[in-house]
Symmetry: C2
Subunit: 331 residues, 2 copies
Amino acid sequence: MGGDNGVDVVVSAAVNAVSRYDDIELILVGDQHLLSERLTSHNVLNMDRLHIHHASQQVEMGEPPAQALRMKKDSSMRIAINLLKKGEADAMVSAGNTGALMATGRYVLKTLSGINRPAIMTSIPSLNGHTYMLDLGANVDCKAEHLVQFATMGSVLATAVDEISQPRVGLLNIGQEAIKGNEQVKTANTLLDRSPINYIGYVEGDDIYLGDVDVVVCDGFVGNVVLKTSEGLVKMVSKFARQEFQRSLFSRVTSVLALPALKTLGKRFDPRNYNGASLLGLQGIVIKSHGGADAFAFENAINIARIEAKKDIPRRINSQLGILLKHKRPS
Amino acid sequence: MGGDNGVDVVVSAAVNAVSRYDDIELILVGDQHLLSERLTSHNVLNMDRLHIHHASQQVEMGEPPAQALRMKKDSSMRIAINLLKKGEADAMVSAGNTGALMATGRYVLKTLSGINRPAIMTSIPSLNGHTYMLDLGANVDCKAEHLVQFATMGSVLATAVDEISQPRVGLLNIGQEAIKGNEQVKTANTLLDRSPINYIGYVEGDDIYLGDVDVVVCDGFVGNVVLKTSEGLVKMVSKFARQEFQRSLFSRVTSVLALPALKTLGKRFDPRNYNGASLLGLQGIVIKSHGGADAFAFENAINIARIEAKKDIPRRINSQLGILLKHKRPS
């Protein structure tokens, strides 16, 4: 059981999650002694839906994925993924080492047929709800066919989770003119134009937030930069706002009055509400929580796993990929 | 004379600029009749520092750069760049077609020795001032050596304009660990480690805004996405803030009280304050204004041209590149 904040955060989140959602059972994988001690310290009401599975090892946050795969066969991460593989769990959530999680997921679970590379996806707030974005860092260099696979997976997930029949899928580019963009983006554009998904063409960076697209597809380098840039910008805006409201006695009084509005505003941008990224394309549901997540944020990641399990996401992606492959054959 | 808003914006900005800065003269290049008519409508005090140069053509906003280069030899854009080439102007500013501006600049002015590709750079607000970022869209695919050239040009410009002796230059990547990133970024990292500039290593998206780096280097695809993403996010935050402050009578009253703070805050993010991107690496100073700039924003672009001319940016980049090339020889 990993993450920057250790076992306490995960145990608290698990206790809260079983109390909030009566349709889940959770298996806490990690040091048995430590976990049962921490569970005892909580006043747990739904103990029958909280289980402990012992693991003697732990993958460290900075550990190279290949080493984790070879040397940490009894790590909490590996055992949790094994439980998924054996059908003893429907989904797994980890706040641990992303590279190791992806490598272990691919090795143990394998990718879905038709998917070369899994992608990391999350939802981010937009003007009228949220936008799904992938890949967020699993694949720094992508070929056109990878981008097409990401688009298909994102479309299936948006359909299943948000119950929209034809999610609008856009390809991130630097201009809406067809001549712009790099080669892989241009080729992916041509392939997506012929695909059965509701492909709306190129979108630009600002469209991510403006609510006119449901799924934004890009390579993992660009996606990761977009996500982190947005985090930095929100931090800067908050800090500037605090400075402005502290400048004078008048503005300090105003800020007290404005507190309800500012709080609601802050909540809309609280990254904890969006914690939990899906490792899409694996034969199983793997959700990555931010390493620095607190119990509230980690509980959100558990809920994403819960929703994806209820919606049976991997099977739906699989059948949609079947349709896509059939669709491609005649051309 | 181009841009989405036509001649009026440019003439107003020029009139204001000569009145604000007594060390500049401006040559308005475009339709002589139209320009003198518009100038007459202003009550111009410094007419001796405002000149008109006739151009019979205009490059359209959507026109392919190659066509503009071949067919628009008497366009305002081409003539202004010719004036620069002949030494009759020290800098040029355009709100026109970016691709055509870059192509014409490269064709007429040529690049500096040691620069394969010019880059587009601008400054963006950060927690403690501003951060320069390049490339913003001139080069969608970059080799490592292009990124190194961008780093050098950005470093020279930050030194000259902000008078900081060793600007901190960072390479945009998706993680600070050396194993992350794509091949060109990793190779550029090795080259920059050996260069004489103050290279601080990899930076991530959030660092752009957090004030711990002066110059952020990336390829034009990533840079353009970062810029547009930020624009979209700021728009969304503003809209949400307006919604929150309109929600109830109480919040509407609060918003009136909070107006001074909100206004100051808005100003810090007003993109008009940051209008004017440098086409760095040409043998001449070419500044690109946003196509949709108003007179206030266009005047900022004129001021950037003014500062770069006073600081003699192309010559300084040239001499710094000389040092860099000498430095590389022994290795």
